[in-house]
């Protein structure tokens, strides 16, 4: 007999795909901030953004799909 119980979807912040995209976006923004020639303040906060993205990427890449 076919199982008709609806499959419970994980919340957004526990799914690998979307969270990996968020982390990737953070890394990309941090990277651009680090090398951009427009504002020193963006350069100042680039490491925090990069680090947040990288740590997030390492964590969420272990989440199930």
């Amino acid at each position: 007999m076919e199982n008709t119980t609806p499959h419970k979807k994980r919340p957004f912040f526990l799914r690998r795909g979307p969270m990996e995209n968020v982390a990737t976006a953070l890394i990309a923004i941090g990277f651009l901030m680090l090398f951009q020639p427009f504002a020193l303040v963006l350069y100042t906060y680039s490491l925090v953004t990069l680090l947040a993205g990288t740590v997030m990427f390492i964590i969420v890449s272990k989440f199930p799909e």
Binding site: E20, T24, I27, F31, L34, T54
Partner: protein, 322 residues
Amino acid sequence: MTDTDTSLLDKAAEKAVRATPAPLAFRVRGLSDRAIAWLFITPTIVLLLAINIFPLIWAVHLSFTNFRANRPNAAIDGVGLSNYQRVLNDPDIWQAMQTTAHFVFWTILLQMLIGFTLAHLIDRKFRGHAFWTTVILIPMMLSPAVVGNFWRFLYQPQIGLFNYIYSFFTGVDPSSFEMLGSVALSPWAIIIVDTWMWTPYVMLICLAGLRSIPDYIYEAAEVDRASAWRQFWSITVPMALPFIMLAVLFRAIENFKMFDMVVLLTGGGPGSTTEVASITLKREAFESWRTGRASAFAIILFVAVFGLANIYVKALNRVKQR
């Protein structure tokens, strides 16, 4: 294998068994497959920890201190995040980052365009293609020290061949411009040398990608009357894309660390026009002797490259799954 060979091998094995010291033989006999596997990989792991991981952890530790390598006996005090704050608020370091980004962008763009074009030409297997492949690969095989000195002579305004060739095509007086001494031209002088030296490497990776495309796909496209242009954009580029991306990743990581060529050609000058991040880092560490701050700077660069590599590996996996 003949009986004589088998008996010879048995004899050699017996000899080896007899030559093994009794305590060692006894120890080895009692080991499981897993233990033997660990026995083999342990030296590599120990070496990796000692050479790669330990210096990294030590640099992270130093980045939070006021340590100076020229005063090894002075007391080391923790300074918290102060080194990071200074590096991230220093306009000179910010400028060096921009210079690095400029180099990375242009060298990769040029190397990819020329490298892929060369690979595409070599892949056509014309007469003498093996010889030309070897000739193209020569710059990559040279030492950066040799290449740096060699190009310094080529860029000489009085005797350099580069200025003469340029003047031959444009009519400009050869001694009217100086590639290494001009603020506007010196960054391009380094970009030209790096492109000359590393385009063969990119070509080699792209060639591997092009050679991995099976011929029957092109044959099927021919049957469907697809034009050469259409075949290039719909077959060649998508199928060689993982290789192109790999080449970009390798070159980007290498060029963020570009040091030797810049030191040999311009030394970071004129002024600080070609002072890339690695040169600023070296000056902080070994001229100003601010080891703690230099470590913080190195860690920032490491995080940037590590983050970039993460994105890249993800993109590469997606392309492969397609």
